[in-house]
Symmetry: D2
Subunit: 412 residues, 4 copies
Amino acid sequence: MAVTESVELRGHIIDSGMLSRLLDDVLDLDSDYVIERFDVGKRPEDESYARVVVTAPDEATLFSLVMRLQSHGANLVDPGEALLRTVDKDGVFPEDFYSTTNLDTQVRIGGHWVDVESPEMDCGLVVTGEAEHARVRTVPVSDVRAGDRVVCGSRGVKVLVPPKDASGESVFEFMNSVVSSEKPQALQVRQVADQMRAVKAAGRTVLWVAGPAVVHTGATPAFSALIAAGYVDVLFAGNALATHDIESALFGTSLGVDLSKGSGVEHGHEHHIRAINRVRAAGSIANAVATGVLTSGVMHDMVKAGKPFVLVGSVRDDGPLPDVYTDVIEGQRAMRAELPGVGFAIMVATMLHAIATGNILPASVPLVCVDINPATVTKLSDRGSAQATGIVTDIGLFLEQLAQELTGYHRA
Amino acid sequence: MAVTESVELRGHIIDSGMLSRLLDDVLDLDSDYVIERFDVGKRPEDESYARVVVTAPDEATLFSLVMRLQSHGANLVDPGEALLRTVDKDGVFPEDFYSTTNLDTQVRIGGHWVDVESPEMDCGLVVTGEAEHARVRTVPVSDVRAGDRVVCGSRGVKVLVPPKDASGESVFEFMNSVVSSEKPQALQVRQVADQMRAVKAAGRTVLWVAGPAVVHTGATPAFSALIAAGYVDVLFAGNALATHDIESALFGTSLGVDLSKGSGVEHGHEHHIRAINRVRAAGSIANAVATGVLTSGVMHDMVKAGKPFVLVGSVRDDGPLPDVYTDVIEGQRAMRAELPGVGFAIMVATMLHAIATGNILPASVPLVCVDINPATVTKLSDRGSAQATGIVTDIGLFLEQLAQELTGYHRA
Amino acid sequence: MAVTESVELRGHIIDSGMLSRLLDDVLDLDSDYVIERFDVGKRPEDESYARVVVTAPDEATLFSLVMRLQSHGANLVDPGEALLRTVDKDGVFPEDFYSTTNLDTQVRIGGHWVDVESPEMDCGLVVTGEAEHARVRTVPVSDVRAGDRVVCGSRGVKVLVPPKDASGESVFEFMNSVVSSEKPQALQVRQVADQMRAVKAAGRTVLWVAGPAVVHTGATPAFSALIAAGYVDVLFAGNALATHDIESALFGTSLGVDLSKGSGVEHGHEHHIRAINRVRAAGSIANAVATGVLTSGVMHDMVKAGKPFVLVGSVRDDGPLPDVYTDVIEGQRAMRAELPGVGFAIMVATMLHAIATGNILPASVPLVCVDINPATVTKLSDRGSAQATGIVTDIGLFLEQLAQELTGYHRA
Amino acid sequence: MAVTESVELRGHIIDSGMLSRLLDDVLDLDSDYVIERFDVGKRPEDESYARVVVTAPDEATLFSLVMRLQSHGANLVDPGEALLRTVDKDGVFPEDFYSTTNLDTQVRIGGHWVDVESPEMDCGLVVTGEAEHARVRTVPVSDVRAGDRVVCGSRGVKVLVPPKDASGESVFEFMNSVVSSEKPQALQVRQVADQMRAVKAAGRTVLWVAGPAVVHTGATPAFSALIAAGYVDVLFAGNALATHDIESALFGTSLGVDLSKGSGVEHGHEHHIRAINRVRAAGSIANAVATGVLTSGVMHDMVKAGKPFVLVGSVRDDGPLPDVYTDVIEGQRAMRAELPGVGFAIMVATMLHAIATGNILPASVPLVCVDINPATVTKLSDRGSAQATGIVTDIGLFLEQLAQELTGYHRA
């Protein structure tokens, strides 16, 4: 049964983002709002005022919601009196105790607002004395004692949010991290799969930008399954991905340092330059496939599937392979030429080519960046690709799961 | 000479944060605003509308400001016609060319709004044809040719910002990174120094929370200079900082694996357990100082200066030192007891004790977290210490520079 | 058909590790060796000398092996003359070209050792002139021209390895990274599964040490499958894992911020303290299970399976749960008491408790550390657990794959 | 007074690296050795045997050295009997107690070798019973009690090192980290300064490879001081460093988002493309300096000092500046042309150009890589530049300190 409260907030509630966070939180908790009154501060120095009626599906949600809104600086229009309950058992709060923030807080006791002493987060509020003689202390759950009176529910509590520093001169910045490896990864895989299916169903194409870790992590078979199933319409990469893929195809099983044993990535380094040399002798990757020099791997499968790829070189390249654009501006032009029709872009394990693609991609194309290193994901967004969404995970396992989801692939 | 423009924006401009970012940007560019009209959307599904008059100190700033506001979804109330200039030289734009975003964009040519083809950021806009037959393409600077007509200034350009996805169901999140090592570090040192001076001048105290890297990076002399100058009023740490500090004081020069040579941190590992044993024999760190067992280092200097420290143990500790609280809840109580009077907290090279301190610190106490690893700084903020400000830098050099700034310290 | 060469090396070949690397490489390439002669340098200043006959399964391997041994300072006892072939096509080397290192190198031409000019790795060697008038240059594959004479095979080439710096005074250290996310992850999962099966078959137990990311990454169902199948005999953790697991079990679906939607990890933070409070009211986790308060999750499953767990607190804990050891030394004792019978230890997504366990574990127990952050894995080894082996990967996907491998588990 | 012991080791002591680590440790502790006997295992399956006499400067060092050698598998030729001392005080070991490893260990009591129960590192050894009835347990310092008999010194103790796994099939690898931010940074700065002075004194040149963080961290003035003092003979970089440097010089103070306030790096992003456009209009960086367009910054100072620079582009570049090589293979050739005469190379805050330079640099040129991210340093070495030495630190503070050390520079 829906329940309702009125909250108000005042101050620089627009430019500080207080109001937008408040409305966000309401929706986040499956609740609803009506803005009853809004007095806008017309100039930078003016305060604004808003009164918002929030409606939650049940009391428990409303309680949780009000506590959260308080931490953003909104308080109940009609706070009422604090509800106090007596503790039954040492070290245990009443079930509906008020859980504190670390902000300055006041509690209404007998008609008086009493300051909370020593604000500390995740504590309860213990009240001693009455009305104007009351004192309110934060107490951690381990230290509460039977007989203590503890504030319960959210009525009669007011949180004082510090005004935003107006100077803007600070060399520091407030922190707010949203790129994290601590997300449910299986869901993320599924959502990428859903997006790819939807894009294909809509007749648009999927662009991949990939780095050499696709090969190093043993994900070539999974990636090949995605190519075979039609989920790789265009591939952007550098010399390294193609070289390591071809090196693995040519030498993978010949010298005892193969990927199937998991060692030897560091060793046998001259193989990559021999692989490059052989494809140079053939004239191109497509020729190497046509003449039977190259018979497996990602590049081979792209050629066989008739799907385009653009390889753009970098200053650290050996060789390079004959298909690689050594002029980076020409490479950019070749990449641009493949963009029409792209409905979804996915970047795996590459920073340089991911940023390069981000630079030329319209913001209207959804963009997912997958990397084990959060910094890569962050950097892409810092450079202007605000539509990018990041997944911090292991590339090898990610591609296996994605191939499993989309194609039923199972590792042999 | 101040110049003025009217911009408007409509949509979910409050809950999406569009309006707050717009006002922020205005102030950021030394400009001013008046909100002329504000129609608030009362319910989640309603659109809002705002018209804002912005005043910039000069034309160049106004031009830059309007372009930036456009990327947040605000457009000129009276856009006028696009100004076109002809390119003089291959590969060079006119000086005041319009620099694109990757958002959908329209340009007003002969009274008609023309869609920009293939949006791409950091390009210019080349116009061919006239009025309703005009076409507008994005062109990178390398590809513009003499004779091309290019949009200049910000008039006659409209940016279409995609509406925020209202579902909130996305498993992805938009990225916005503000913790970065790419900030001017010397300024950050100076600002911390200024804050410390101000706190001391106000009669309040400075709390340090420190990890063992203070010792490993050779910063002990710099830290001692800060203690001597009165900038370390309270120290929270674990067994490791105190142990490595005392190990260095007791064995630093005896066995050829000393810090002054910079090697051997890995080796000689039994020294730390011997150092612990000696202080256990003395009964306490203070006794070890009093009896002449311990004659230098951070812990020695704190004892000599009569400054309190709280050492709280963790499950990975060897020993521990006799002063270490082995019960973590008792340790928390001891830390709480030292908080009154603290006006500034600084955490260096520690995650566990930084979070523990963040947990019990009021939000009103400014808090700086210094670490070479951005993840530590991020984690602190994620756990609720929103007032935390982060500096990603090298601890050893940071402490040297801070001591230099505050005390005139110079490394011998 | 096995083929053979004699190589020799001289200098500080023992203390520099040259000889051990050489023998390692021989075995790594499925080859064999006999040490024909070994003159040991008896004192630090003496040089040693070794002559080793290596036997490879075929010519291609022998060629590759000799090139690699040269980069460690070994050269052919009988180098012979360099074999020169003429280039057919611009930009393409002969198939068996000698691929360079960046070390000083000499080539034997007409009985004369000629210095290679400007050593550079991954190039070919182009020879001009004859005998004592010959010159040898490094040339990258892109710059070789038809008609150039290029050194092929490994005969007639000598690599000069710089002597190890004997001073040991260097503040720098040579780098050698072996913890990397660029490994085939699927193989690593399978190998862990094999080890666990072997340990169980031998009647010994599997110890898990786990951090809260097991819950955050959505891996609880996979972990529960491992418990059900008997692969989790003992669990060491902190307050955080148990709290987040129980919070998820108690509140996971009630307030719209659930894990199944993938958002809200940051929000709703008071839930964890409420979860703790409820278990404190029940008296213990086992009581919470017995009284029906707790009906799912990792801690519930451990209780139901009758498997022991040890939770040891830290200074940053809220609450804590009643089962948590707040005294870390008592916690260490409780952990030690569970070690007898342990045949394999696996640490996932935890640094503090992983190091704590590493501290008390005999070196004879194999130990795998799984984390998305390479630093965690490195730190464990730096602190003395040399038997630790590291897997840098995503915890959620890792546990899913491991459960799939061991129990046939599939995500619903 | 020098003291001496004989130790022996047997097994695969060469290919496992045991012997080389042993000799290393001896020298590391200012001690000396003579190899008295060495029986080499001629084939992979044969064991070797070595007897080494070690000489230490004093008893304490010898004690420490023998304990360390034991952890590498060497034991005393004549172990003698264990020395037992009685504990005086709860929780305190005798001063010279034997500090354990986590390896299997035996103690000689009354002529019998007794196995140590439950090996654990950093403990003492408590003995109960006598001779063949004796038991030896590991006891942490917190748990030892007055009256316990504890093994002291290193006589009568034997450590059993597990044989190296001969299979070589393991997908895991042993970990050994040497890149760490926990090093004394001030010493590292000084050592780089010393190397640069020595190189200049020898008439050779210093090559810098630099990334844009040099500008972002506010280090431009420090870098300029190094240019002015002649310590920057050649500069390799990409479009980004030069662009951000020139952007800062052209727009640094004009729009309120300047570096001197420390904010705004994220904002005002169109400045970089305007800066590029202006230099394109001038024709080259040198022309921009000559015509007064560019009057300060790193690129300006290089031009004024007449020092060469090579800028090589990448696929993510905007523009680029007219001086940038857009063809990466031509860029490599231009870099190679600047290598003659280089005696020292330093790479700061760049991965792409650092690896590119590492690829073409002879191993005989010392190479230092400075970055706040340990992964950059590691990657360089993984790709073959084994001579690279790494410093993990903040670029801004590092350059300030280096300029201070070399030129007396002080930040204004």
